[in-house]
Amino acid sequence: MATDLLACTHRGDFPVLDQKVNGSPLVYLDNAASTQHPACVIDEIARYYREDHANVHRGIHALSSRATKLYEDARACAARFLGADSNDSIIFTRGTTEGINLVASSWGTEHLGPGDIILITEMEHHANLIPWQMAARRTGATLQYLPVHGDEGIIDWSLLDRRFKGSPVRLLAFTHVSNSLGCINPVSQICAEARRNGVITLVDAAQSAGHAPVNVQELGCDFLVFSGHKCCGPTGIGVLYGNPELLADLAPYQFGGEMISSVTYESAQWKSGPHRFEAGTPHIAGAVGLATALDYLDKIGRPAIQTSDHHLGRLAYERLSTLPGMRILGPKTERAGIVSFQLGTIHAHDLVAYADQFGIAMRGGHHCNQPLMRKLGLHATARASFYFYNTESEIDRLVDVLHRASRYFGV
């Protein structure tokens, strides 16, 4: 029961988990879509609104200066969380999707042109795929894919060097952990290869930042993005880390208040640093809540969270494999706590609706991986995704309900 250690000590921190759904205790296995919030995050957001709220960076009064301090402290917290050298390399966004759109729009427009290649993988979430399709269309660059092989989701990263040397690849954007396959890509190795070849890298850390140590210096990436709500923080807030040298001459993404140094009727000049990319009043309470969440995770320790995640993922893989007609995506070992599967001929929506009747929350669908699903000959899969507050007995309950579902739908 060693893996339940974190759940034993920390499950109680999450008020939402203590409830019955359809008459059974809630088993929340939809963490890859959104994680739940510990009471400290919920309380801090409420406290901020009760005691400190005002607009940031423009008021002289006490509340404004408190709110500004909290907001900038949150930036420092995110920088620490990612091991970034400077707070100025942290841009607050609405989430992973906006972070990628920002880079694709600002960096892409300035640095991409006809003949250039944007390289991504076939396992990317739509959020790390469509912005590049659009950037390619806008700039005349070409979008190319590193192929994914088989249900295990293997990418032959050894081909990268040849790919870089044989063609004018300008940017490589890829996910750290696949949200459907649960595989973990060797980020530091990939980024080192890219850097040797002068290729800019963007890492989608949506599924990893709250689940494992993620240090931008060690990974050696140029850009990295994640969302608050996938690591115990609020929705509507996320982080884009950018290599300071690249951010220095990057044009703004949106325009308005907060991001200017001076404006005339004819033109405007931009602030330096991350504020240039944060037009308008930011999601202050979101940043405050996110900082509380990141501190909470680091108090538990991300290495411990990673161990728990991997154990639950491996265990779920093993136990689900015993079901007749089970097809599981992703690698057998070295996997994150994300397990997508197809059970016999039962459609994912039917399976997820059935499981919900027993209090089990899962996701069913294409997980914003339509091209990959199509390539694997699947329309939709069910997905159980874990976090450190999940327990081994919850995996047993899932397996039990899947056995019932097999009988019910007559596989």
Partner: protein, 141 residues
Amino acid sequence: MEIDELYQTIILDHSKRPRNFGELPAPARKGEGYNPSCGDEIAVFVGESSSGTIEQIKFTGQACAICMASTSLMTIQVKGKSIAEALALKRTFIDFLMQEAAPATGLGNLQALGGVKKFPQRLKCATLGWHALEGAFKGRM
């Protein structure tokens, strides 16, 4: 259990053994339905008689049990009807699923889908085949 209201025996039967499953060659009309949230897709093929009634109807697709059963039952229920009658039945069916006391006139076995009322997130599944049917008539009315 509430789930048994959703997955009634007739629905499980039609989802496993969909009736009128397959394609019709041209000049049959084809309409398609697609649910972007789950990737489900249904194609409905309609062959009209000289008097404008639905003489033949078939469907193909990949979808959940609710969607497959609803489409399968639909093909049985609209066969022999005029296009206007089929579209009126579509409205009756959708009203039946969305409104508490809506009449079920002419729905026959489609009433087995009444459990969807308690699962509003499955409404799209239950109506996808019907939207494909309407698509087959596009440009015809």
